[in-house]
Amino acid sequence: MTGKNISPKNFADDAFSVLSDPLMQKVYTAYDNVSASMREYLNGDGFLEYKSILMGPVTDPGIRGSKQVTVDYYGYEYKMMSSAILYKQLLTAARKKAGGEGKIYFFADNIRLEPTETANTDRHLAEFIQVDIELADTDHHGAMSVAEGLLTHVCKSMKHHEKELSEIWGAFSEEAEVRGLEKRTEIRVPKTPFKRYTHKEAVDELISYIDSNPEALKEMEKRFGFKPKELNHKTEIHWEYEWLLSSINKDPFFVYDYPKGSRGFYDREYDDKKGVLMDFDMLFPGGYGEAASGAAREYEHSRIIARMKETGEKLDKYRWYLEFLKAHGIRTAGFGIGLERTVRYICGLPSIYMALPCPRIPGLLSP
């Protein structure tokens, strides 16, 4: 089997043939290695791992356009976790209060019924693992330091597996190139600190790149099937530009200080810069796009309530969370790094569903 032959349909029609393929087994082994090296780094840095929480009375509502899954919990409606964000703040504050460092993480199972249009982005799944990390007494820059340390460590560990990985790279290289991804031939161990663009600098960089390379617009149109939207400083960087920014970078990098309006209520707004959030994305180079997303958290319940109303939330749903913040809220920051996205990057996979056995591809019915 080569990478070319694998399609979402294979998982629906004959999952066993895909799963038992030696090449795919190498991918699943890399997945295991990446997980182990993440745990090794985090445990070595004083983080405590908590068991993933699967359901609760409320989950993260800040996920653009995706639907939560409701379960009947003894006659009450519970939600499957779309992210562990609310629990991260709770458990970090609790650990700190008990005398610990206040550093925690989950290998969090996340379920999000993404819009079916995301089936073609190559990086959305309806079920995936996010390594969800939170630490006390710091801001988004502190969280970025952990993120770059973690990714660098994963690259170092995976450098030892280059021989097995090279078979995967070879098998998928043609298809990866078609999807606008850099061909992988080695593991580059990045140097820290990573480059950090503010959102404004990133947009400016894109504008000047397109000025001197106008053919990039055509390339984006070919890659995404629609005319690129207008670039501006006020909104999230759209997928097509994020891909371009990722493509023109050789090493992982950060974009931070996004404008408000695109993120959940828990990303903290600067006290002295209205409309700017203390948040960041970490991006892979070579067109692989977003790796992680994080922020300094809002932890004052009055500010959270105002932000919740901006997103039209019903406050009653969040009573436990608001009461906790009022009594025990502390300054924390954190991020979630996509495990499958990291595996995709390391293995040079054209699409994210290839990283998982039994993937949940938005809208596809498969075992």
Partner: protein, 467 residues
């Protein structure tokens, strides 16, 4: 008028006080059987209309000289322009509509829900925009019906979307906090069955910032015990159905909370999160309406719907119908002022609009179109055997309920009734616009209106007709 103990008539509200004494908190809603408290979805309360001006205080004033009629004749070559040459097609809130009439976003009341799919289909076939109000999914189910005789949210949506033609019209869907509990908008946005229509740009999400008949108040409904138990997790129910056995329960939903910043950011976030649908904002008869329009327009709302205090309601306290909020005419003033300041956003006005006259007056004052609710309900029930109930006990809230239960199965004739009503409004509007010598709806302006009130003339900048 009640009599006092000396047998003399008095205007002191003796009956109302007795009503309070007998029924407690139930007496504050106009569904009691007392003759003194009539209401058809909020209309015909005894004091309403006497306190303030309405659109009825305005007349349409055709001129003798009609240069645009001459222009039209030149365009038509060899034919006198008449009313059917008037082009009513409009762009409202990001949609194309055959005429500037919107079926207002009406929600979950039993009798309306039952006929809503017929009305929706009539709107779609007539090429007008239609709204779907709040609480429908939580009350009647998303796609599978909670009650076999009551259409689900999906039934109502598809009755509209599957019957539109030539991409005229649009479906405007509300989500209040309780619907947000079920993530209605996310559900629609990731639902394959809606995808085609979202792709075509035929769907809008409408934030509900208010309603004419209950400014500053949340949604109220009376439900039975089984429903009360089912809804307990999402609504405030009084009395507690788990501990108190009563023949009815009040279902309250909270009014949403806004500050200037919250409104601005809410609109921006929705535009960011749901880039393929239009974002509408519905507001009510608030004293700070000018600021509301400025902020919603600035944040990029595709449409602002402004519901005056005479607007309809499934259920509101009588005191709200009588004494709360600014009237539709004041809302029109806010629209006119916004236009003077250069605000170009689409604005739809509503609040006791019933015909082509209301449409023409509102648009001449600056609205992009009008929305109506109750006329669609009443038209849907225009069966001949319904008539004598309506005539006999005119406009008691309970009576319409009675009608809907006697006509257990409203049928496709409702579609014809609603289409007939729309057609009559269309013709009326065309006659009126042609009468002022204009042939495009956007040519209407304040010069086409007059009033017998000096006060109103000064307020709205329209001509005083006795001069």
């Amino acid at each position: 008028m009640p009599k006092n103990f000396l047998g003399k008539k008095t205007d002191y509200p003796v009956r109302e006080i007795m009503e309070r004494a007998r029924k407690g908190r139930k007496s504050i809603y106009p569904f009691s059987n007392e003759k003194s408290k009539f209401s058809i979805y909020g209309a015909s309360m005894e004091h309403t209309g006497k306190k303030f001006f309405t659109l009825d205080n305005i007349v349409i004033t055709p001129p003798q000289f009609t240069p645009k009629r001459l222009e039209k004749a030149i365009e038509l070559i060899g034919r006198e322009p008449i009313y059917h040459d008037v082009d009513l097609s409009s762009r409202i809130g990001g949609f194309r509509a055959k005429m500037p009439l919107v079926q207002a976003s009406m929600g979950s009341p039993d009798d309306w829900n039952k006929v809503a799919p017929f009305s929706a289909r009539a709107c779609a076939e007539s090429g007008i925009i239609a709204g779907i109000g709040e609480n429908i999914t939580t009350t009647w189910g998303y796609s599978s019906r909670v009650n076999s005789t009551q259409p689900s949210f999906y039934d109502r949506s598809m009755a509209y979307l599957e019957n539109t033609a030539e991409e005229y019209g649009g479906l405007v869907i509300q989500q209040n906090e309780e619907d947000a509990y079920d993530e209605l908008w996310n559900r629609i946005y990731s639902d394959k069955k809606f995808d085609e229509y979202i792709q075509k740009g035929m769907v809008a999400f409408e934030i509900k910032g208010g309603q004419g008949a209950k400014a500053g108040m949340g949604g109220e409904k009376v439900v039975d015990r089984a429903t009360a138990l089912r809804l307990k997790q999402k609504y405030t129910i009084y009395p507690d159905p788990e501990h108190v056995i009563a023949d009815s329960y009040e279902r309250h939903s909270a009014p949403d909370i806004f500050t200037e910043e919250i409104l601005e950011n809410r609109i921006k976030k929705l535009k960011n999160d749901y880039p393929r649908v239009k974002i509408w904002f519905k507001t009510g008869p608030y004293r700070d309406l000018g600021d509301v329009i400025r902020i919603a327009a600035g944040a990029g709302a595709d449409n602002i719907t402004i519901d005056g205090k005479e607007g309809g309601t499934g259920m509101s306290p009588s005191v709200a119908l009588n004494d709360v909020g600014i009237p539709t005419i004041s809302c029109m003033k806010a629209i006119a002022s916004a236009r003077e300041k250069g605000v170009t956003v689409s604005m739809v006005s509503s609040g006791r609009m019933t015909g082509g006259g209301d449409m023409v007056k509102s648009i001449a004052l600056g609205a992009s179109g009008i929305a109506m609710g109750r006329p669609f309900l009443i038209a849907s029930y225009a069966y001949s055997h319904a008539e004598h109930f309506i005539e006999r006990e005119l406009y008691n809230y309970a009576i319409l309920k009675n009608i809907s239960s006697r006509i257990a199965k409203p049928d496709k004739r409702s579609i014809t009734f609603v289409k007939n009503m729309i057609e009559s409004i269309e013709t009326e509007a065309k006659l009126l616009i042609a009468s002022v010598g204009k042939y495009r709806v956007s040519d209407l302006s304040r010069e086409d209106l007059g009033t017998g009130s000096k006060e109103l003339s000064g307020l709205l900048g329209i001509k005083y007709i006795y001069e």
